[in-house]
Amino acid sequence: MFPILSSLVFLPLLGAVGVLLLSKENKQLIRLIALAVTGLVLGLSIVLLTKFDPLQTQMQFVENVSWIPHFNICYFVGVDGLSIGLVFLTALLGFIACIASKGINTNEKEYYSFYLLLMTGMMGTFIALDLFLFYIFWELVLIPMYFLIGLWGGPRREYAAIKFFLYTLAGSVIMLIGILAVYFNTFPHTFNILEIQKAATLFDFRFQITFFLAFFLAFAIKVPVFPFHTWLPDAHVEAPTPISVLLAGVLLKMGGYGLFRICLPFFKEAVVYFALPLAVLAVINIVYGASVAMAQTDFKKMVAYSSVSHMGFVLLGLASLNPTGFNGAYMEMFNHGIITSGLFLLVGVIYDRAHTRDLNKFGGLGVQMPIYAFFLTMCSLASLGLPGLSGFVGEFLSLIGAFPVYKILTAISTIGLVITVGFFLYSLQRVLLGGLNPTCSKYSDMNVREILTLVPLMAITFIVGVYPTVVLRFQEAAIQGLFNSWGAH
């Protein structure tokens, strides 16, 4: 059988090596290779989607090869309903952000090799079924990200890059101890995630509490969960547009994915024990993130904080501990990836023209740039959760799942929704409406390339908003399976 998952992971790596071997001057060719590789990855992921059987709860497209026999470590990959959506999301955003990387015009060779290496890391994280392999891919994301922010970022890029690197590393090394502890407490010792899930019923309560926290810290920093979110605004604001897209679209999902793939099945009692604190953190994320976003004058920072708010719904759905909540959380991850990527692209579009992101320096662009106005309005409406667009579905399911369990908390979190509506409409007003700001009179509307990057995202937003089943059907069986293994408990 064709090793489709390995191709998804290692094609970008091959591309990165290929780009490195080329001469610096071949800028066109380098860009072409990167586009071809990411395009091929997207094509393969679509093939994967069509061949994937959503009704099965087993792992599919499994590849399992022994890697470090001394520690019983395997190269073990596979996808199920929990990962397939995120694999597709990674491939799609990887391709779109690669198109949007046209604006990068210094050190293209290094940029695209780091970019492709980043793709390998992200893809690998979602398909790895061996904890050790998972950790390697998880960490592999850090180095290219550090350089991508640090070399091609904004004025405070060095600070943002090192802050991102240190924060994430701090979380993940603690997770490494957790991984080892889990390994030594499973008999026979194994890093195989599926085996550990089966053996996890034998973990005693104290062990679960301790190592749930070890894993949770790593994932919470990545999601990010309040109070570990402070790296996010810096990294987002300083990163170049395509990298912001991947940060928001994919990297934050790595945290959410980890919670579902590892924390939920490994530490069931601990998750039940910590459900209420998790829900409280979720509500803080939602309300606090939205309130801070409201106060921003920097467009990109506002979108960054809106991510903090949205990721709160992921955590809320998870903390509700029922299939509806889980489905909501998972939908929210996918939809947030699509919508927020669109928003970051749009912020990039206006920044390329204005070289500022100050919301107060725009005005009246609705007339000057009608296409831009259309996309920005749609993305903002989707993000604030307008029914009929995809953002609504995830948040709604999360809230439905959470309401029977935490009535008051759910009520408070809807305040966050109101604030979200507030700051998005306020930003639309400042950018698109009012009299035309004279400094903006020279701005041209979006070009074909920019439109092309946004069309697929908008299409998905519409389709999922109207007919959520297209996404739900992929994840439902897996989530029901995850929950059933819980019910047995």
Binding site: I136, I143, E158, I162, L166, L176
Partner: protein, 469 residues
């Protein structure tokens, strides 16, 4: 005398022979430039004559030397280190060419002492080899005699070293016997005065800890590394350290753990202190050699974690770490030699924009530093992973958490160097010096090994396992 004994020390004899040939070559004007090549040949011949089999019970020279798995592994590693350091020295521009023969002579002599040291099975032999490594080291540290810092390094190393070996000698004398096996028997029989035991552990350990630069005996390290010629600093950072750890392993871990209950907490405390102090002091350094010196202190702390845990997997992890650490540290020092040859400085700020001027060396130094920081998929990550695994297996979570938090702190200063090379604009135009082919070769080989072992660590583990069981 048993002819097998002579066969056992054949590698050392070959090195001694070559050492004198190198010294003679230095006298003749014609052969002066051959010193490096000759000593490299000596190391290669010596490596070829290493014994191919071992047996834990085989002792030579009435129990002075032992041929066991540990000595076997470490003699190979030490010869590899010596070979790499010779190649690095051949590309080191500051070495006065009129003294180069003496330099290589000392290098070979210190290698002989280290080889004998790791095979020592008797406290007298341990003391003698320790002292002979030290005396040659003092000379090598001060080898750039016209350089004030180098002379200072030599004197400083001498003062600290003389004191610490003296202390060790006093400790060694406490039990009335120098034979390790009889000491173990005395300990097992419980016929040792408890105070004498404590004094013995502390005094002897101090001497070994000095060589490994374990805190609180690490103070000499930054000054000596900064002043010594860079290839010598590279050698000090790996060779004598490996020897020191071998001594600790032989004298304490294998024999004392069962009878001396304070060993584990004492060792754990020293490991924690060493990594933390090394990393914290490294944060503020602006000279790359001093930064690497503090980084080696921190690395010694990680290595010592394996010995503090003391389980078979801990010991194996320690040996694995020593192998990997030697490779990545020599890679880092080698890259620093190349860059310092170009910018004529070892200040970190003078490395700015190095990536634009000399991308290959900048990438090699980056890979070495990221490996030292323990970032996958480089070899340093695997080494740290095995150390961590041994700590977690033994349920020493305090050690494990200290190791990982320290790696985060360490990343900050390694990243600072990387940032300077990649993100900062080039300062004054550096004069790119054509590099000797040897240095380039070594750098590329260590880079490949760094990547390769990071992905297939079991090749090395498998080798180590063969020797240890």
């Amino acid at each position: 005398m048993n002819p097998l004994s002579l066969q056992f020390i054949l590698p050392e004899l070959i090195l001694v022979g070559f050492a004198f040939v190198v010294l003679m070559a230095g006298v003749c004007e014609r052969f002066k430039n051959w010193a490096g090549g000759l000593s490299l040949a000596g190391v290669i011949f010596s490596a070829c004559s290493l014994p191919t089999s071992w047996n834990a019970g085989t002792v030579f020279f009435s129990g002075m030397l032992v041929n066991d798995g540990l000595s076997m592994v470490l003699r190979q590693i030490l010869l590899l280190i010596a070979g790499i350091v010779i190649l690095l020295s051949m590309g080191y521009k500051d070495l006065p060419s009129e003294d180069s023969a003496e330099y290589y002579f000392f290098l070979l002599v210190v290698t002989v002492s280290m080889l004998l040291a790791v095979a020592s099975n008797n406290l007298l032999m341990i003391y003698i080899t320790l002292e002979s490594i030290s005396i040659v080291s003092y000379v090598m540290a001060g080898f750039l005699k016209r350089d004030v810092f180098s002379s200072e390094a030599g004197i400083k190393y001498f003062l600290f070293g003389a004191l610490s070996t003296g202390i060790t000698l006093y400790g060694v004398s406490l039990f009335g016997t120098l034979d390790l096996a009889s000491i173990v028997r005395m300990l097992a029989a419980g016929s040792v005065n408890e105070m004498a035991l404590y004094a013995y552990v502390i005094l002897v350990f101090a001497g070994f800890a000095f060589k490994c630069s374990l805190a609180p005996f690490h103070m000499w390290t930054p000054d000596v590394y900064e002043g010594a010629p860079t290839p010598v600093a590279a050698l000090f950072s790996v060779g004598p350290k490996a020897v020191g750890f071998a001594f600790i392993l032989r004298v304490f871990v294998e024999n004392f753990q069962p009878v001396f209950t304070y060993w584990t907490p004492l060792a754990a405390a020293i490991a924690i202190l060493t990594m933390t102090m090394g990393n914290i002091f490294a944060l503020k350094q602006d000279n790359i050699k001093r930064l690497l010196a503090y980084s080696t202190i921190a690395q010694a702390g990680y290595i010592f974690v394996g010995l503090a845990v003391g389980t078979p997997s801990g010991i194996q992890a320690t040996l694995f770490y020593i192998v990997i650490y030697s490779l990545m540290n020599l890679s880092a020092f080698g890259a620093v030699i190349v860059i310092a040859n170009s910018v004529r400085s070892t200040k970190i700020k003078d490395f700015s924009g190095m990536y634009k001027q000399d991308p290959r060396t900048a990438i090699i130094l980056t890979a070495a530093l990221l490996s030292l920081a323990g970032i996958p998929p480089l070899a340093g990550f695997m080494a740290k992973f095995f150390i961590l695994a041994s700590a977690v297996e033994a349920k020493s979570f305090v050690l494990a958490i200290t190791v990982v938090l320290n790696s985060v702190v360490a990343l900050y200063y390694y990243a600072k160097v990387i940032k300077t090379m990649f993100l900062d604009e080039p300062g004054q135009q550096a004069q790119l010096v054509p590099q000797s082919i040897c240095t380039q070769l070594i750098l590329i080989i260590t880079l490949i090994a760094n990547l390769f072992i990071g992905i297939w660590p079991h090749l090395v583990i498998h080798g180590l396992e063969n020797f240890l069981h």
